[in-house]
Symmetry: C2
Subunit: 119 residues, 2 copies
């Protein structure tokens, strides 16, 4: 493989809430996503999910609190925990999770993205 | 868990080649490391290993080429591939790999670090 430059990869797309795979480690995938506005409440019953903010600011709402993440900050959402990502302005993030995880968890809807799209 | 600020965590230690765990995702760990100088040739027979440069510049030497990684760049070293990390000046990186991986692979030596040290 070649090295991966996160900002160069981020320049290759502009849509929101649609994760792009940039690398795999064993059966895990690294995905870049641009987010803006509200996502849907969901959880992933089988896996933790890692968020790392590359640029901007996002929030992850939980049932009893909200976490604010800025550039250079990360959070691991434990498996099964209901959460709703949110970004007031466009935020660029990296998600790390096992191959095959659907962005909206068990809830299919308008924001459910194609899986395993590489850039 | 609380959110994790990578640069704040990096300020908490100054030793080189000694990974500090900052988070877990399923059975994987996120580790911060400060590196300077040459590491040893080694490989990890059972797992890929991800390097992300937070600050500075590092090289990963392979048997037939060398990859240069700068801030915001990443590389996944495939399982079983011999490699030697190197940094001319101090470089701050994040490593992602399964819990229990030893930094020097099968080769125990002066640079073999304690495993599972959290900050």
């Amino acid at each position: 493989m070649s090295k991966i430059n996160l900002r160069e990869k981020l320049e290759k797309f502009s849509d929101h809430w649609s994760p792009k795979v940039i690398a795999e480690m064993n059966d895990y995938q690294f995905k870049l996503v641009k987010i803006e506005g509200e996502f849907v409440w969901h959880n992933h019953t089988d896996t933790d999910e890692t968020f790392i903010v590359i640029e901007g600011e996002m929030k992850i709402e939980f049932e009893d609190n909200t976490v604010v993440l800025k550039e250079g900050e990360m959070y691991v959402v434990p498996k099964g925990v209901e959460h709703k990502p949110y970004a007031e302005e466009e935020c660029k993030i990296m998600i790390i999770e096992p191959r095959g995880v659907v962005n909206t968890g068990d809830i299919e809807g308008d924001l459910t993205a194609s899986n395993d799209v590489w850039i």
